[in-house]
Symmetry: C2
Subunit: 668 residues, 2 copies
């Protein structure tokens, strides 16, 4: 294990250019803008560049210019150290990568595979984002109206102004083929997802989503089985629904606690476990403020007063969100009022001409809610930007909260209205079934049918691309970029961009609500959800691998505010289910007839509190972190403490030596 | 800042013997036992001794033998390093003490005051506890029936068998005089407690108690003021009680959250902040099991299977505790039944002869509950020992839970019975006032009057001791231990031992329950509690300084399970107060008369849920750790991480150097 210098390590490989990230310009993009960006990508870090390797290609058949971006091995090594990337160490744990300790990291024997492509692409993105406008860059070259100011991230600005149309990392064909076989092939439908490989290829954030989806799907099996048994047996008892509801309530808690444990295992294995330092990491790219100093690392970074953020949240975001919630509520009321009116009109005059009128309110409501939803999403995103969160995680958590609140009102308020205001059990059951099944069928169409269409479209595109590709071959000069890479890049540029996990979680969140909030009214909900999710996993997987451009890997230590959102639904479902059962006339008849209604209500309130207490106890007694993770974390902390002591000792020894030398030299 | 070797540092002082801890034997103790222990205390660590300094004195006027124990400076230094004692570092934070880094710890310039007496006494206790029986020690010398087995802690065994009667650290007269002036003097009654000094002198655990008591007392001021206003103004409104109750409920949450923040500040400042490593620290002295390996530090220690502990808890402790709770409940029912019977008897035949009969049930109940309580406490302690908890903190938390459960049932169940079964508001008010005031008056007598008596008794003892002391002077030979120390030791040996903070917290817990559980029924409760606590602080302080033997300092990072106990009371008080207000006929009359009772109940249930949600939101949005503590913690973690990286680099550099040398030597 003779150690080598960086020069030795990187020398052999520096000639092989491996393009991993693509920037695409439109045919109309001014040449000055392209060249200026290219220069900055190549320029050394000291001159404010990204110090990456870049090749420009202009396929003759089209005017679009494509930049192929890669980096030298020493660039990857230096950046990985700067980013404090965590890599598996031969000591057995994950450690922050340092070049001087390179040989003690696993896999350092073969440098070409030391970093995964996802890691390399993450590094390239980080470096691209580090290109900022200097004081001399007043506007994007060639576009005098697109002003810049010092410190502005240039690549982001190119994309925002649509000077560049696309920035995406390339897929890795070999890996994705293997991954796909293990992941979405039909015969895999009952096997465990290859979460480790997903994390390696797509990053922790997406892997977390699939891990969560997987565990959630498995945990739907028991309630689904009970639902089936209930459906088949026609066992009639007033306890029937109560038993199912209590089981569901406790089960949902167990599921969420198990997820916490699983999640902490994953994030420990992936080295993304949140430490107290994480709160003081570099701020997210869009964070603005006066340049100050990070109180922990001492590095320069923007600082924005907390008070301002809090004021913006309470004085702007909160009222605006509340207003939208109010509007959604009014829409719902109007809908029920219009529906009653329409039913009335039709009832009075049952002609075929009047028939469409009973569907009109639903259609109007659906459309107006759709419009309101679209507007709200834009507004929520703007508000969230406006709040100027320092960390990506807190930015996302606030966005989640905004979307969840609105969707909760939007999707569930009508159920609450039916269940507790109209108190119509039959309507509740049909309404719930209708909402759940409609949302799943449309979801399946969007996610399984549309991909199928995409695949077809893509194969046609492939053919066209092949024709284009033929034109490369006949082009003049030797292409600097590998022919297959060119083909791949032009194929993948036609793919859709992955929109992030937000909508996927939101879908699961609503489904979770449909299944658990009123589970005593519709016990088959879990079965529907289970069937949906089994296909959902595979279609999502297929989409990730084949339909979408590869996303940049993002790290994550959990599912963030979604955990809280699911837990709150769990709590609310205790109230709703107890209320539903308490309101059931069959159950009420079971009580001694001498009992007053008030005492009956009090009994149900007492039961509700007991269930809440049981939930709290279950959550309290299941540790959030499995013991082995705790042991490993403690071991790492213990070792670093010991190292700190050693360091102090060494430092004090060096000081002593120095003093002794000074002393001796004075004496002489 | 020329560095010195340990020998240099310790040389000058090693002759001055400073006795800090006393072991006292009875007049009947066999000489062999005393000499054997003395030998072991002095023996070197390698031979299984404690390597401490000890002087034996036999005052002529009494047969009791007293051992004066101290240690040399180098013993303190070595032990402090072994114990990973945290001391303030010149870098600004607290670090685990290491001798080689000694000069960089604050106060190392003056070695005689580098360790506080509390730290020295902690070290001595630790070393005394490290004396264990070897395979040759079959019994305590001189007592053939008092068997020992290898590994048994000998000092503990001496005390348990009452071979030695007392082990206590000596007070520090000068410090305690200064501390007393700042702490319990009457003119200090409105100033802040000197928490820092208390921590230095009595250790973190006791300082935490006083910090908690202080914050709790201050936070009682607003509810007490409102209580006074209510009492004076006679403002009559149905909202009156509701407003007070809601204020109290939210206020109690704010208090508990503020305490969390204050507590984390203190434990950060004192270096007792729990890290994940803390869970894997050395087990508590009484922990037993097969000798295994600590999974984190790798050191040998007893290991006991978790399953066994869990089984013992669920199969033994839980049923036994439940049984006692049941008995207490039956006692309460019997009491109310007997009372009703007695009232009835008296009502039928109102003669003076029959009069005592209406007090009989209360007296019988009080006595039987007292007996039951005493039995339960013994049983709870035995059960807790039986559960064999690894950490002192988890041992204490389980004991707290056991005591809290029983005392909750014991003290509050009758209130619940009156409030919700008898539904008698007037009786509830008088019963509550009676319970609160009785417990406080008896408490005050126990804690303020009895100390006063103690002081008197003590001054008499002082006189007698002076006479005894005179006999020392006339004794033969020069006493090896300073005359004033001998006097002090014989005085303090007559003092009572401090029983720990458990009962103090329990008292506060019950008071908290009386104030908040039924606050709408008796708004003056907070005022009573406030007045009680203002004197409580000072009498407790006086007791700590003047009445009790000095306790050994114990570290603590918070108030442990008490936090949860207080929070649970806070939650329960939401339910009780909402129920109380909902059951109030005045409030019920306020509702529209068209409203059915069921809807009224539902409204109160809704209000209760809203209050619970507000409490949860308050708890969620107030961060448990203040920002500055978070910054400092992150900074420490960041630095130790950086140190780990440096260490790795240095290690890999050393390895390279070594390999290079080997390589060169082979070549030559």
């Amino acid at each position: 294990m003779e150690s080598k210098s960086i020069e030795e390590i990187t020398e052999r490989k520096s000639d092989a250019f491996e393009p991993l990230v693509i920037i695409e310009f439109t045919s109309g993009t001014k040449q000055a803008a392209i060249e200026w960006l290219m220069a900055h990508i190549q320029e050394s870090k000291l001159d404010g560049g990204a110090e990456l390797e870049v090749k420009m290609m202009v396929p003759q058949h089209q005017q679009a210019t494509i930049l192929y971006i890669g980096a030298s091995l020493d660039r990857y090594l230096v950046s990985a150290e700067m980013m404090q990337m965590r890599k598996p160490h031969t000591a057995g744990d994950l450690r922050e990568f340092t070049i001087s300790d390179l040989e003690n990291f696993k896999g350092s024997g073969e440098m070409s595979t030391f970093f995964t492509t996802a890691e390399k692409q993450k590094i390239i993105l980080k470096e691209l984002n580090s290109i900022r406008a200097s004081e001399f860059d007043l506007h994007i070259p060639g576009y005098e109206n697109y002003k810049l100011y010092p410190g502005k991230r240039i690549v982001k600005e190119y994309l925002r102004r649509e000077v560049a149309v696309r920035l995406f990392p390339l897929h890795e064909e070999e890996f994705i083929d293997k991954l796909g076989k293990e992941w979405y092939m039909p015969r895999q439908c009952c096997s465990v997802q290859p979460i480790g490989k997903i994390q390696k290829y797509f990053g922790e954030k997406i892997a977390m989503y699939f891990a969560f989806l997987g565990l959630y799907t498995i945990s739907l099996i028991p309630p689904a089985l009970i639902g089936i048994i209930y459906f088949i047996t026609y066992w009639r008892s007033v306890y029937r629904e109560a038993i199912f509801a209590v089981f569901n309530l406790v089960w949902s808690t167990i599921f969420l606690e198990s997820w916490k444990r699983y999640c902490s295992e994953l994030s420990f294995q992936w080295g993304t476990m949140q430490s107290v330092v994480a709160k003081f990491e570099e701020p997210r790219p869009d964070y603005f403020g006066k340049i100050g100093k990070n109180p922990v690392t001492g590095k320069a970074e923007p600082v924005y007063p907390k008070l301002k953020r809090v004021l913006r949240f309470y004085l702007v975001s909160l009222p605006v969100t509340a207003m939208f919630l109010g509007i959604a509520f009014v829409f719902m009321l109007t809908y029920f009022w219009m529906q009653a009116w329409a039913d009335n009109v039709y009832f009075k005059n049952k002609t075929l001409l009047q028939y469409p009128i009973i569907f009109a309110p639903t259609i109007v409501y659906a459309i107006s809610i759709g419009i309101l939803n679209a507007i709200y999403r834009k507004v929520a995103s703007l508000l969230n930007d406006f709040e100027n969160h320092r960390l990506q995680s807190s930015y996302e958590n606030h966005l989640i909260m905004k979307l969840v609140l609105f969707d909760f009102v939007n999707c569930f308020i009508s159920l609450f209205y039916v269940a507790f205001y109209l108190q119509d059990r039959a309507l509740l059951r049909s309404h719930l079934a209708c909402l759940l099944i409609t949302s799943q069928v449309t979801g399946q169409i969007k996610e399984a049918m549309v991909p199928f269409f995409f695949v077809k479209r893509r194969s046609q595109q492939m053919e066209r691309a092949m024709k284009k590709a033929a034109s490369f071959k006949t082009g003049e000069g030797t292409p600097e970029v590998d022919y297959t890479v060119q083909k791949q890049a032009s194929l993948e540029s036609t793919m859709d961009q992955y929109e992030g996990t937000m909508d996927e979680y939101l879908e699961l969140f609503l489904q979770f609500g449909y299944v658990f909030l009123f589970s005593s009214a519709f016990p088959l909900a879990a079965l529907w959800a289970l069937l949906n999710n089994i296909t959902e996993i595979r279609t999502d997987a297929f989409k990730m691998c084949r339909i979408f451009q590869r996303p940049f890997a993002e790290s994550a230590s959990g599912i963030g505010a979604w955990q809280i959102a699911f837990e709150v639904i769990g709590l609310i479902s205790v109230i709703t289910n107890c209320a539903l059962i308490g309101m059931d006339p069959e159950v009420q008849h079971l009580m001694p007839s001498s009992m007053s209604t008030v005492n009956m209500v009090l009994i149900f309130v007492a039961v509700e509190h007991v269930v809440l207490a049981v939930k709290a106890a279950v959550a309290f007694f299941i540790p959030d972190v499995p013991r082995w993770v705790e042991v490993e974390m403690a071991r790492v902390e213990y070792q670093s403490k010991q190292a700190l002591i050693k360091e102090n000792v060494a430092a004090s020894y060096r000081k002593k030596q120095m003093l002794r030398k000074m002393f001796l030299s004075k004496e002489n």
